[in-house]
Symmetry: C2
Subunit: 480 residues, 2 copies
């Protein structure tokens, strides 16, 4: 590949901004140059992924991550660093192997040590599953029942108790591949991960299984949070890999009476103490106006949580480093938050929101989050009043030289959403989305799937947005 060396992109972007904004262009340029030359986000991510590892809420690694976050923040010498205590649910996958087999009804087991010794040569296909986060265990021998497949949203209600009772409901509803932004395909599909077990149990199902929520076709199961309600029996819930979901679908086409057996030994252990980790730069002119930014420190347990949300954590820390390194003194108070427990409780986000609501002398003007992967940044989405969003969008030309072009999309992050009642504008970094769900909540979410430059571009973009929010401010929504 050969390419003519041209510099028109930068030039054209500069001509679009007024002379008044020249200082902003210079500041953003300094942030990107420093980030791309000397960025520390990737090295921090290496430590978080390789020296700490998976850090599900309540795990020893999550505690270690809190300690690491505190130390990493402190080394950058913000005005203050503190922990915000919270209680988090502790759910454990258990050390026993998770296993599943597509089989046929009525196959006799001779004894427990040879559970699948059979009289005839039956179908017996081991497949890959993982328990969904929050699920109960199966019995130690596992759960076996006939499978009923759901491929359309309305199908479960049509089947009713008669079609579902005593069975394992297999929600085989894929992400829509024709959506361009993969997050648009995520929403409709992930519904069955959260609610599938209770939807199925209402009709007397014994177990629930979802097709892994990913656009990739491979053998990796993808976990994620699910929930029960007290009024409906609790049944075990798992996710099956997409390759094996396709296999099961094909086999059911030939023999609708197929059974499925799976075993998982996960358990909910109650609540344990944990913490948000917070660093603060005190505003020099308007300290009562607060800008919050953050990501979440917890991750799922199947991998290192490199994209979800190690990336958001190290980008948050990098924003602090960039402001300090460039000698920028904020006018407003900036709070950098490593939220705990986004994945299965949002306790950190809720506690920070409740704490903020009690601090009547402060105004929470804006909050920014990175929790959509560490890929090359495409832009920022936002939620808030039209006036708030318009202000944020007016800065788009400043970001164009760095490849960020999408500022119109609506959306905010989970951890900052509890600030919404305070009238806070919410902003979320929007990275290129094609690869995200390939790794999300699966064993593939490891450091090796993160590109250092993409990660550092995202961090520099966040630092640039932080600078603009601080320099120009934004009004909190009326009546809040």
């Amino acid at each position: 590949m050969r390419w003519k060396l041209l510099f028109c992109l930068g030039v054209s972007a500069f001509t679009r901004v007024s002379a008044q904004d020249a200082a902003d262009s210079v500041m953003l340029s300094r942030m990107f140059r420093e980030g791309l030359r000397n960025g520390k986000a990737y090295e921090n991510l290496r430590v978080l992924c390789k020296e700490i590892g998976p850090r599900l809420s309540g795990s020893p690694q999550a505690d270690k991550a809190v300690e690491w976050g505190l130390n990493t923040f402190s080394a950058l010498r913000p005005d203050s660093v503190f922990l915000q205590p919270i209680a988090v649910p502790q759910w454990v996958r258990g050390s026993a192997e998770e296993a599943a087999i597509i089989t046929q009804m009525g196959i006799k087991r001779s004894n427990k040590s040879r559970p699948f010794a059979v009289e005839t040569a039956p179908l017996r296909m081991p497949v890959r599953i993982c328990a969904l986060g929050g699920s109960i265990a199966t019995s130690p021998e596992g759960l076996e029942a006939q499978v009923v497949e759901i491929t359309r949203p309305t199908q479960l209600d049509s089947l009713g108790r008669k079609g579902v009772e005593g069975k394992i409901v297999f929600f085989n509803i894929p992400m829509d591949p024709t959506r361009i932004n993969t997050f648009d395909a995520y929403g409709p599909a992930v519904r069955y991960r959260g609610a599938g077990a209770r939807m199925a149990a209402r009709y007397g199902a014994l177990g629930a299984m979802i097709r892994s929520v990913t656009l990739a076709t491979d053998t990796n199961p993808h976990t994620g949070a699910m929930g029960y309600v007290d009024s409906i029996p609790k049944i075990p819930a798992c996710a099956i890999s997409t390759v094996h979901a396709n296999l099961l679908h094909d086999l059911l086409g030939k023999d609708p009476s197929l059974s499925f057996w799976f075993k998982q030994q996960c358990a909910y252990k109650g609540e344990v103490p944990s913490n948000n980790v917070i660093a603060e730069l005190r505003g020099s002119e308007k300290p009562e106006e607060v800008i919050t930014l953050g990501g979440h420190l917890d991750s799922w347990d199947l991998a290192e949580g490199a994209h979800d949300d190690g990336a958001g954590i190290v980008q948050t820390i990098e924003c602090l480093r960039l402001l300090k390194q460039l000698g920028y003194k904020p006018k407003r108070t900036i709070r950098f938050v490593l939220f705990m427990n986004e994945e299965n409780g949002l306790r950190g986000g809720k506690e920070y929101g409740a704490w903020a609501a009690r601090r009547k002398n402060e105004r929470y003007i804006a909050a920014m989050e990175s929790d959509a992967g560490g890929f090359a940044p495409d832009g920022f989405c936002s939620e808030g009043t039209p006036a708030q969003r318009k202000r944020m969008q007016s800065w788009e030309p400043l970001f164009r030289p760095y490849g960020l072009h999408s500022f119109d999309r609506e959306g905010g992050g989970a951890d900052i959403s509890p600030l919404e009642p305070l009238g806070t504008m919410m902003v979320e970094l929007m990275p290129e989305s094609q690869r995200y769900f390939d790794v999300h909540h699966s064993a593939l979410d490891v450091l090796e799937s993160v590109n250092p430059r993409e990660l550092h571009l995202g961090a520099a973009a966040m630092a640039g947005m932080l600078y603009l929010l601080d320099r120009y401010g934004v009004s909190v929504a009326d009546g809040k």
Copy 2:
């Protein structure tokens, strides 16, 4: 990560285009939907990478790729498929291991079978190199000489013959990490790959070595074309991995008298016959107006050429498939070209250009290439008259719903550049560039580094551009 499900992107893009263009929106939507649902580009890439493999010009695999291209085109039933014979240079790396060691001057070799048995405990660090494409071999025992490091463009001339004669010149000039589009960083750095050997030999150097042209820091050497001129002695040239370039730099800081030994057994074998592979859809209204699109079928030999340029090849084929699948009958003649020998000769591109120049009854209005990787498409760059480029850029709103936003950048592809004298507008697909040079010309350029959705988005974008070029046409540059 949670995200509000919103559809504003698509809606806002549709409002930007006039009602007149509604049919264009519908056509692009059909192309993207078909590509994302049923795209065959990734499966074709799997065959090209895994069943054929590396396909350097003149290799048996390159011949196999030509046959595969012919068959794959034919299966799609275009109006015609044909080969365009060319002669290509055949350069072979050789089966002997390439090896290199950072060592110290004057270390005695006891005999050939133990070349580095030494009297004292010396520095002796094996490092990873690869021969540059087109380089001559070292002697069978390898080449050993003192190293002189060049870190600034002007430094070689300052050193002159006195500082360089009898030495190995180490061009340690990295890509500029602060460039946002990595192709802007490639140009200045790759100069030493192409010309370093003759620059060094002019001053009497015995060998030349470049820092691998990549932004990644790892142990993979990256090859690529270099060239000699008859008036200057030919010396062996290789590339060292970036990790080892950094190591050598550090060691030279402590001991500037260090030596370097390397061995490579590559050879130029002369010219052999090969072919471009061409499929054609004959225009129904203006068959004399030709639109060309393509990628290059040859690759470097260190890996599978998945991004460079397997992606461009399978996207070109996918464009034909999409037009056929959607039943689109072009008004103008469209020629789909799998160019041979882009990497080390451009013989295919030159022959196609010369052939086109002879066909006086045809006008070559536009040519499009994909040779910048199979990553998510950001837009199209172009070369041509202001009027030509303005027409292409006017279609930007149609592509916005699909994430393509960058239409201002100037640039065209190598294989289509010989059409420039015919007044042809040149267009090149511009994918996200951050990861490209991590894999480019190295052992990492394998299928696994390609994301199927990103590849198919690029193909659909090209098909959309092809449709618009065909529907609206474009004037050839004046006086050509």
